[in-house]
Symmetry: C2
Subunit: 350 residues, 2 copies
C-alpha cells in the first residue's frame, strides 16, 4: 500500500510499504477513506521537532474496517469509523475520567506499539489500529455520504480540540469569548463557543479569508491586532475588563501571553495549542487576577459521541476548515501548501 513518510525537514514522500496485518487480537485494519495534515505535523516538517528518517506520519483519519482481531467486539468489518489522533483503550481510569489522551495503555500513530510492532501513520491507504474497540468510534445510522467526509474527519482532531478549549475554559450561555488563533483549531473553537452558548465571540485573525470563515462560524467580532494593541482592542469590546473565557489555539509564548492578558479577572484561559517550547506561565499575574489556565492535549475520543449528531445534521460545519483536497500521492504538496499558508487544512484521499 501507499503511505506517507517523513525523512526530515521539508522531506515528505509517499512510498509503497507492506500492507498492515493483524498483529494483536485487539487490532483492526482500517481502509482509509480520508486523512489530513495537522498543524502539529508541520513542526516536524519545519525541523522544529526532530524526525527519525523514514518515520510514518499522519494521525487523523476516517475509514472502513476491513478486518478485526479475535478480541475485537465493538467494531465489525464494514463499519465506518472515526479514529482519534491517538490510541486508547477507553476503559482505564484515565479514560473513564474523560482524559483518554492519558490512557494507561495509550499509543501513538506512526510509532511502535506496546509489543514493539510498527503502528501505521494516518496518511496512508490502510492503518493497523491497536486497541480497536477503545480507539475507534463507529459511525452508525444512515450511510456516510461523500459530502459528510470533511465534517467526520474533523472529529479526529480539530473539532474535538476546539471543543476541548471551550470546555476547559468553562464556556457557557451568555459568555463573552475571545479565540486566539485562526487555524483550523481556532476556527473550530469559534464553532464550539457558539455551540455552548457564548453570545459574544471575538476571533483574533489577520487573514481575511479565515476571518470570514470565523464570522460564518459565529464570531461576532474580528480583532486583527496582536500584542498590546490586541489586548487593548479586546478590553474595548468587553467594558474594559477582558473576555470571560479565552481560547488559546496556537501554543506560542506570544499567543499564551495574549490569551492571559485578554481574560477578565476571575476568567479562564482554555488552551489546546501544543506548547512550542514554553513559555512557563506567569504565576504572579494569574494569582493577582484570579485568571485560571486549563486545558491540554484534547481527549477528542470522548467528545465524538456528543458532537457527531450536530455534524451529521449540519447544525455545525467544521468540515469547512478543509479548504484544499488532494490525492494521497500529493501529500508533499499538502505539506507545502499548509507550510506556506496557502491552505488552512488539507484533506488527503487515498
Amino acid at each position: 500500500m501507499l503511505a506517507t513518510i517523513i525523512d526530515g525537514a521539508h522531506e515528505v514522500r509517499v512510498e509503497h510499504v507492506p500492507d498492515p496485518v493483524i498483529a494483536d487480537p485487539t487490532d483492526a485494519i482500517v481502509r482509509v477513506v480520508a486523512s489530513c495534515v495537522c498543524g502539529s505535523d508541520l513542526w516536524r516538517y519545519r525541523g522544529i521537532k526532530q524526525v527519525t528518517p523514514g518515520s510514518r506520519i499522519g494521525h487523523e483519519f476516517i475509514g472502513v474496517v476491513e478486518a478485526t482481531g479475535d478480541a475485537v467486539d465493538a467494531v465489525k468489518t464494514g463499519d465506518f469509523v472515526i479514529a482519534p489522533f491517538y490510541v486508547c483503550d477507553d476503559t482505564c481510569v484515565n479514560c473513564r475520567n474523560g482524559v483518554s489522551t492519558s490512557c494507561l495503555a495509550g499509543e501513538s500513530w506512526g510509532a511502535l506499539d506496546r509489543n514493539g510492532v510498527q503502528v501505521d501513520g494516518g496518511q496512508g491507504e490502510r492503518v493497523r489500529v491497536p486497541l480497536a474497540d477503545g480507539t475507534l468510534f463507529v459511525v452508525d445510522g444512515d450511510p456516510v455520504r461523500t459530502e459528510e467526509i470533511p465534517g467526520l474527519l474533523s472529529l479526529s482532531d480539530v473539532m474535538g480540540t476546539g471543543h476541548h478549549a471551550a470546555v476547559s475554559a468553562g464556556v457557557g450561555p451568555g459568555d463573552t469569548v475571545a479565540v486566539v488563533g485562526d487555524g483550523a483549531v481556532g476556527l473550530c473553537a469559534v464553532i464550539a463557543a457558539k455551540r455552548l452558548g457564548a453570545t459574544t465571540i471575538i476571533a483574533m485573525s489577520r487573514h481575511e479569508d479565515r476571518a470570514a470563515l470565523a464570522r460564518e462560524f459565529g464570531a461576532t467580532h474580528v480583532v486583527p491586532e496582536r500584542g498590546d494593541e490586541g489586548v487593548a482592542r479586546i478590553r474595548e469590546l468587553t467594558g474594559g475588563i477582558g473576555a470571560d473565557r479565552v481560547l488559546e489555539c496556537v501554543g506560542t509564548k506570544e499567543s499564551m501571553d495574549q490569551a492571559i492578558r485578554s481574560t477578565r479577572p476571575g476568567g479562564m484561559v482554555g488552551y489546546v495549542g501544543v506548547p512550542a517550547g514554553g513559555p512557563e506561565l506567569p504565576i504572579g499575574r494569574l494569582f493577582g487576577t484570579n485568571v485560571g489556565v486549563n486545558g491540554g492535549v484534547a481527549p477528542v475520543r470522548g467528545y465524538i459521541p456528543e458532537l457527531i449528531d450536530d455534524v451529521r445534521s449540519g447544525r455545525i460545519h467544521p468540515g469547512r476548515v478543509f479548504d484544499l483536497e488532494l490525492p494521497l500521492v500529493d501529500a508533499p504538496e499538502a505539506y507545502a501548501a499548509m507550510d506556506e499558508r496557502r491552505a488552512i487544512k488539507v484533506l488527503l484521499r487515498p
Copy 2:
C-alpha cells in the same frame, strides 16, 4: 488609640496613634473586637517583602460599627461586622463577577486610600473603613457570643481563602482531594473540601498537632512526606494516578510543584498560596496531563454569606485554627510566636 506598626524585619511595635475619623461619606469607623496575624504578614516580618518604616499592619478584623458617613446605607452604628482582608465596593463589574479582590475601586488596609488618606491597619483598636457598604458584612440574627469570635474572624480571610482553593479546584461530591500546606489556610481548605463533599481528603502535614487538627476537620489521611516521596505517597493512596483536586495553600516553588505532580490527569490545582517570587508554571507538563491551575487572591467578601451559617451553627469550626490568643499590646509576641511556629495563628484582642 493603639495600633500595630511595623518598621522593618522583626520590628513590630504597638503605639498610640490618632483615632480615625470619617474622611469620606462612604466611610465607617469600626471598633475592633478581634484581629489577627496572617501568614502573609510574616513576609514583611521576615524581611522577605520590603517595609516602609512606620507602616500600619493587619488586614483581618471583626468589630462593631461606631460611626458612619452620610453615604453609608447598609451598615449602621452598633452593627457587628466582618471586614474582609481588602476594601471593595461590591458593585463594580469585577465584584459582580465574584472577583471583589479585583474591585475597580479596591483599596488595602494600612495603605493610603484613593483620596490619599491613611487607611488603618486591622491590628489596632479602631479602623476607618472606606467603602463601608461594600466592604463590611453585617452579622445579623442572634447577638454574637464570645465563643463565636474566632470563627467569625476566620471569615475575614483564612476560611474564605481555604474555601476559594476548593472552589477554584472544582471540588465536588465524592472527590479525592489533597491539601498542600498545614497552616491556617490549609486547615481551612480541609474544612472546605469536606463541606463541598470530598470523601477522601489527604492532608500533607509533618506537624503532629496540625495533622491532628486536620483529621478533626475531615482529613481521612495524613502524608508527612514531601517532594518525590510525597508524590509517591499520594499516588499510592489514589490508585496510582493522583488526586482529583489538589489545594495549594503555601505559595512556594516546592509546594506548587508538589501540588501539580500530585494531581491526576484531567484534575485541577486550586491555589491560594501567595506566590513567593515564582515559580512560573510548567506548561509542558500541564498540557500533557490536562492538569489545570486555577485560583489566586481569594475574594472572601463574596463567600461570607454562604459560609456564615455553617460557622454560627457550629457545623464547621474554622475558629479552631487560632491556637493562641493575646492582648493587642502583645502583638510583637504574636508575630514571634507565628514566626517561630509556636502558634498556627494568633488572635489579638484590643
